[in-house]
């Protein structure tokens, strides 16, 4: 059997390893449009913050692929699939026959329909090449405008601020991080951004971007302002790289729909990671959960099933954590309440600035924790309850059992560093 994996990210690597756990013998070829051994997208902001060197971004060594018995085709994009002949068409004209195929091509930054986004001063933060380019743009005193306020946008903003840039964030909606935080948490984070001299303009549309001959940029906003800048980062979301096999798509809906087995509607063709529209832990319609942990989970199931193991995926549960402006920001599952849900909310509990747990009939559905990293540990403890819909009728007792206050009181008394304080 010849298995072909397209992609070299979280889903592809997880699938390859999982496949080898079930099948040591079959031939495997991994094709990736980008060069070399895998690096981690999640780490790119840490590189820009100078927390990691360029070498620190790589999560596999060149010989890891041979160790896993996979031939590699790096730097070659796949252009299409001929499902009848079971052939993958490569950009250099070669055709690669397969018995089973995994599409793990991830997603790409969305380009909103704003005139001027093709100018030289406009960047994205998605690939290693992007990060290396931005590293030379991040000069102290330069002005940066970030379009969007999701995880990638704000991590870029924080990195830029730490490197001494003047930063403005423009968000179309009325709050920052709309998909990751509720309004109350977003407000706390906005205040922190403000304290760090990051300008935040919510409810604002970027109308156009002009790049002049000297490479300087001007962003015109719906508020009638024209913001001068040295660079713009577009981070308004991502869309799946789902064009390899149009036969497996639904009309007018992004993302390759997959069954619990990660198989697409084309038999023997699987998909995993950001590119999929997959089952969720909540049940209901399939969703795109473009997150690293989801890609790892889906890759595992897909890899096992490429080997015929007959695994079934329990569905994805969104989980987010990152540090931004020295606040640990974590969220899990459904953290915005519907009518009839109960909300447990607390402010300023020993270093946790804000904590919210949404429950329905005693079953936790989701949560937010901001501030001390112990909040992320707590959400980790809640995760099995959310995933398996296990009741937790007495939340205060749960928190006491978890010894949350003890943990908070004993957490390393590292001075409350703030990135902006260290800037001044």
């Amino acid at each position: 059997m010849h298995v072909v994996i397209v992609g070299n990210g979280a889903a592809a690597l997880s699938a390859l390893e999982s496949f080898r756990g079930h099948d040591r013998d079959s031939r495997v070829t991994l094709v990736s449009g980008e060069q070399g051994p895998a690096y981690s997208r999640v780490l790119l902001p840490y590189y820009l913050r100078r927390r990691l060197s360029r070498d620190g971004l790589f999560i596999r060594r060149a010989d890891d692929y041979a160790r896993l018995g996979a031939a590699t085709e790096f730097g070659v994009r796949a252009e299409g699939v001929d499902p009848a002949r079971r052939v993958l068409e490569l950009a250099d004209g070669r055709r690669l026959g397969f018995d089973r195929l995994l599409i793990a091509t991830g997603s790409s930054p969305m380009r909103p329909p704003i005139p001027g986004l093709d100018g030289a001063g406009v960047h994205t933060l998605w690939t290693l090449d992007d990060a290396v380019r931005l590293d030379s743009v991040f000069r102290e005193g330069a002005r940066l405008v970030v379009l969007g306020s999701g995880f990638v946008a704000l991590q870029a903003a924080w990195a830029a601020r730490q490197r001494g840039l003047q930063v403005s964030v423009i968000e179309l909606l009325d709050q920052i991080l709309p998909r990751v935080l509720d309004p109350a948490a977003a407000q706390i984070l906005s205040e922190r951004l403000h304290a760090c001299d990051v300008e935040v303009r919510t409810g604002t549309r970027a109308e156009s971007v002009e790049t002049d001959r000297g490479g300087r940029v001007r962003v015109s906003t719906s508020g009638g302002d024209r913001l001068p800048a040295d660079a713009v980062i577009v981070a308004t979301g991502a869309r799946p790289n789902d064009q390899l096999l149009p036969e497996c798509l639904e009309p007018d809906r992004p993302g390759i729909p997959v069954a619990d087995t990660m198989e697409t509607v084309v038999s023997g063709v699987y998909a995993a990671g950001d590119v999929t529209r997959g089952p969720t832990a909540r049940g209901g319609p399939r969703e795109i959960h473009a997150l690293w942990p989801t890609a790892v989970e889906q890759g595992r199931v897909a890899g096992a099933n490429l080997a015929g193991a007959g695994r079934s995926y329990g569905g994805s549960l969104s989980m987010n954590v990152t540090e931004m402006f020295d606040l640990t920001v974590a969220s899990l599952g459904q953290f915005v309440e519907d009518e009839g849900d109960d909300v447990f909310e607390e402010h300023d509990r020993g270093g946790i600035r804000y904590m919210k747990i949404v429950t329905r009939a005693g079953v936790p559905l989701g949560a937010i924790a901001m501030g001390a990293p112990e909040g992320a540990v707590l959400l980790g403890r809640l995760r099995p309850f959310v995933r398996h819909r296990r009741a937790l009728p007495d939340l205060p007792a749960f928190l006491a059992r978890e010894d949350l206050d003890g943990r908070l009181a004993h957490r390393s008394a590292a001075k409350e560093r703030t990135s902006c304080a260290s800037l001044q």
Binding site: V42, L43, E323, A376, V377, D403, R411
Partner: protein, 161 residues
């Protein structure tokens, strides 16, 4: 492989394991540095030492986006390479037992590494609540515990004490 087995019934909440671990981690007795934590519940009169179980299928290891978590080939321990960890905290959220901690001083995650095969917490335990045992043996132990509680429940349901 061997892991640290915990018997909450034997634990007397002396916290010697925490001090031993903290000293091993930091050369100091600040309990915040300890990877083993004794949760003490005054109302229930119970105490439970909690430490990493080095799960066979370790989710923290699989999910780490920096490939900083690995299994020690000698001891089988799930370990964090502090030089690779970027401090993203995904492992904190991934561990269903809350056994990974964040070291705010160094900005990286930290957890039990079985002290390279000679866990200090077990050495320091005065009550026999912590034992460094074979994982298979532990499974047998657990079965005994479960059997015992099942018998107790059955007796209760029949009104026998």
């Amino acid at each position: 492989m061997r892991i640290v087995a915990v018997d909450p019934d034997a634990c007397v909440a002396c916290r010697d394991c925490e001090y031993a671990c903290a000293f091993r981690q930091s050369g100091d007795f600040a309990r915040s540095a300890s990877h083993i934590r004794v949760n003490f519940y005054a109302d229930e009169r119970a105490c439970v030492p909690l430490t990493c179980m080095h799960c066979e299928d370790a989710w923290c290891l699989a999910v780490c986006p920096a490939a900083a978590i690995d299994r020690d080939p000698g001891t089988g321990a799930v370990t964090i390479d502090a030089t690779r960890c970027a401090g993203c905290k995904m492992c904190l959220l991934a561990c269903p037992y809350g056994n990974i901690h964040f070291n705010a001083e160094t900005g990286v995650s930290a957890k039990c590494d079985l002290c390279g095969g000679d866990p200090m917490c077990v050495r320091a335990c005065i009550s026999g609540a912590l034992r460094y045992v074979d994982a298979e043996e532990l499974a047998d132990l657990r079965r005994e515990v479960v059997d015992a509680s099942l018998k107790r429940l059955l007796r209760l349901s029949k009104g026998v004490r």
